[in-house]
């Protein structure tokens, strides 16, 4: 939890930087541990409920741990008309999870995302930070094999 104190320091305990602090923790931990939120609330001197309001409002945050690799299926309009839901269906089937779910072995979390701005390459998925574009259902197996 040392990290949380560093992050709070980095933003000078500024109330207006609450979202940025939470983003940094989300990025390094993969979710927002309750303990981290408690520390921020105390250090910045805001009620804990304020942090939960932010955590539940913004899509970037998760309150539960997620898989080692996050699969973001782009559901933007361009990807939608090029068959993004077929990609999503296939991933749900193969990973045996619903949207938002994590596989039992903790390897993948499957999420839909609004638009990653790679519309020329639709349909697109982003695994971790890697983009994979112009996908068909067939391509998915090989792609997932790259992530252990």
């Amino acid at each position: 939890m040392q990290l949380v104190y560093q992050i709070v320091e980095k933003y000078d305990r500024r109330e207006s930087s609450l979202i940025a602090m939470m983003q940094d923790i989300q990025k390094s931990e993969g979710y927002l541990p309750q303990k981290a939120l408690e520390i921020i609330a105390k250090e910045v001197q805001v009620p804990l409920s304020r942090l939960y309001a932010l955590a539940t409002f913004y899509k970037a945050f998760s309150l539960t741990p997620r898989g080692r690799h996050i699969i973001h299926v782009c559901t933007g309009t361009a990807c939608h008309v090029r068959g993004a839901d077929k990609i999503m269906d296939k991933l749900k089937r193969d990973l045996n999870v619903e949207e938002g779910g994590t596989t039992e072995d903790g390897r993948f979390t499957l999420e839909g995302v609004r638009c990653v701005g790679c519309c020329g390459l639709g349909p697109v998925i982003v695994v971790g930070e890697n983009f994979h574009g112009k996908l068909t259902q067939k391509d998915l197996g090989n792609i997932l094999d790259q992530y252990k």
Partner: protein, 599 residues
């Protein structure tokens, strides 16, 4: 600038799309190959921002020859270097070939996709390294700021922006000069500027591309605005999904500060202006300016009623002027070349150019900048090269979730704020999503309503509850349970939500439903009355069949079917067990003989 020292430059695209297509591996391979051939002192590899033709990435342009290369692979590089740089003849294999021909077009400016564009906002596209301020300066960068600060009074600047006719590119189309004047005329010791880079419309990515490929043009525009309005501090609110844009804009701010172009005493005057970057939290509604302000202040982004407008009471209660990325990026050119020059471009009420992301079912997907007034047909069939696979055009969706679907009969409509609004769509931020005969318009309406149900902030009832009711009706129709009066109920609900929602998210939410009802009613009727989905999309209303004539019994479909519902002997036509089929479409994708049809 060091571009002068080299005989030739090869400009490699480093936009998000090309990077995801491994353009950085191409760069490494090129540098190694050039070195191997002792060309490293003659040919320079330059990294540029997005060059726009994303579908064909990774792409590279050789200058000064203007030769365009596409779909590059590492294995192509030795031959490309040998042919182009040693033997002096462009390498055919990596050239662009139009869909309706087999003759390659080597020159960038002769390719349909590029030929009809007019670059004002994207003027530096493909010609400079976005991470190097010196290159921006070499292409007249920060000259407009110098002119503004040294030679123009704030009122003169605002008058110039008013005269230019520039209107907000964030969707609403409000005249920028008038907005600036309102903010300037409010008395206050502290004022703020905001750059809205939340770019929430799905299918739109011009703002991301501008920030990635020419970040200084946005900074320069904001500095000019700050000087004119009297603001000392500004915020750039960028989507968290755009990490590369965040990185590049931050670097640009640092460089500009080092050069004294931001910070204190800009150009030796007493004008100070500082900029901060704030990352969004992934909520569409935060693109609405009052919600965005709440988000910068560290609260959930929920809109509030206006007035008071941000010009009077904005960020931390102070007068605030917010503009979209593309709006800001237009400012330096307007100041440098003058309003009279800018006004010549466009239509009577819509001046200048607009950047569109031309995507979906279109041959040449990418980012295009065109003069206002060009027709949608020219964009889609001229620049975009029409619809792939010989399919028929059905509609183009403009304006994101607040916009609408425009049918074939209106394709000659000129691109102009008023004309698009009359058609029931809006200009919006510039996403143009092309749809063909295999796109179901009821499904598209449901897609947008689902999006908005998810993104509604929940503050006002019409939006929070009304949209869910619309979603239920649309689901009923696409599931095959629609009744005749559902369409009338949808229309009535749309009207109520439009009149009573608190912010524009709700007020415009019905547009995708209303335009599809207006232009594609027969498709709704087919769903409701005949229980058919003519486009073959809605799962409850379609079935997959294998043609006995075309099937050769290769078993590819049976092997890929996730529920094992396809049977048949090897080398004999296969059949699908309709009761078990889940209509996932995997078989159709696997079939190489086009034997599977949807009915």
């Amino acid at each position: 600038m060091n571009t002068k020292r080299f005989r030739t430059n090869i400009m490699i695209c480093a936009g998000t799309s090309c990077i995801s297509n491994k353009s950085m591996e191409i760069r490494v391979a090129l540098e190694a190959e050039l070195k191997k051939r002792n060309l490293e002192n003659e040919v320079q590899v330059v990294i540029t921002g997005c060059q726009g033709f994303c579908e064909k990435g990774p792409i590279a342009i050789v200058q000064p020859d203007g030769i365009f290369y596409q779909l590059l692979e590492v294995d192509d590089i030795p031959m490309l270097v040998e042919e182009h740089f040693l033997k002096g003849r462009p390498y055919r294999k990596c050239m662009y070939v139009p869909t309706d021909s087999d003759v390659p077009v080597p020159k960038l400016m002769e390719i349909e996709f590029f030929k009809h564009q007019m670059l004002v906002v994207l003027k530096n596209r493909g010609r400079m390294d976005p991470e190097n301020i010196d290159e921006y300066i070499a292409f007249d960068g920060y000259q407009a700021l110098a002119k503004a600060v040294n030679d123009m009074a704030p009122d003169k600047i605002i008058a110039e922006v008013e005269k230019s006719g520039l209107r907000g590119r964030g969707g609403g189309g409000f005249p920028t000069g008038i907005k600036w004047r309102l903010a300037k005329d409010v008395e206050s010791d502290i004022k703020y500027l905001i750059c809205n880079a939340d770019e929430g419309d799905p299918g739109a990515y011009m703002d991301r591309s501008i920030l990635e490929s020419d970040p200084h043009s946005v900074l320069e525009g904001m500095a000019i605005g700050a000087y004119a309005i009297g603001a000392q501090e500004g915020y750039i609110y960028v989507r968290d999904e755009y990490p590369l844009a965040v990185e590049r804009i931050k670097r640009a701010i640092e460089q500009a500060k080092e050069y004294g172009l931001l910070g204190e005493g800009i150009f030796g005057s007493d004008f100070n202006f500082d900029l901060h970057v704030v990352r969004g939290g992934g909520a569409f509604v935060c693109g609405e300016e009052t919600a965005l302000i709440a988000s910068i202040e560290g609260f959930p982004g929920r809109p509030r009623t206006r007035p008071p407008f941000p010009a009077e009471r904005g960020l931390w209660g102070k007068p605030t002027n917010n503009n979209n990325v593309e709006t800001w990026a237009n400012i330096p050119t307007i100041i440098l070349r003058g309003a009279d020059w800018y006004r010549q471009i466009g239509t009577e009420k819509s001046k200048g150019t607009k950047v569109f992301s031309l995507v979906g079912k279109i041959n040449n997907s990418g980012l295009v900048e065109v003069p206002m007034g060009i027709s949608l047909r020219e964009i889609i069939f001229g620049i975009g090269g029409g619809i792939p696979d010989g399919k028929k055009f059905k509609a183009v969706q403009s304006g994101g979730p607040s916009g609408g679907c425009i049918p074939e009969s209106l394709l000659d409509l000129p691109v102009d704020y008023e004309k698009l609004t009359e058609a029931g769509a809006i200009m919006g931020s510039g996403g143009l999503i092309v749809m063909d005969e295999t796109t179901c318009m009821v499904n598209v309406a449901l897609y947008f309503i689902n999006f908005l149900v998810d993104e509604s902030c929940g503050k006002c009832v019409p939006c929070r509850v009304g949209l869910i009711r619309m979603k239920e009706i649309l689901e009923k129709i696409t599931n095959g349970n629609g009744e005749e009066n559902d369409i009338a109920v949808l229309e009535a609900l749309s009207d109520t939500i439009r009149k009573t929602a608190l912010c524009a998210l709700g007020a415009t939410a019905a547009n995708p439903v209303l335009t599809t009802l207006r232009y594609f009613k027969e498709e709704y009727i087919a769903h409701v009355r005949d229980k058919k989905c003519p486009a073959g999309v809605c799962k409850a209303l379609i079935s997959f069949h294998i043609s006995e004539e075309k099937c050769i019994g290769c078993t590819a479909c049976a092997k890929t079917c996730p529920v094992q519902c396809i049977s048949g002997e090897r080398k004999k036509p296969h059949v699908i067990n309709q009761d078990a089929c889940t209509r996932c479409g995997a078989c159709k994708e696997a079939c190489r003989f086009d034997a599977i049809t949807i009915a």
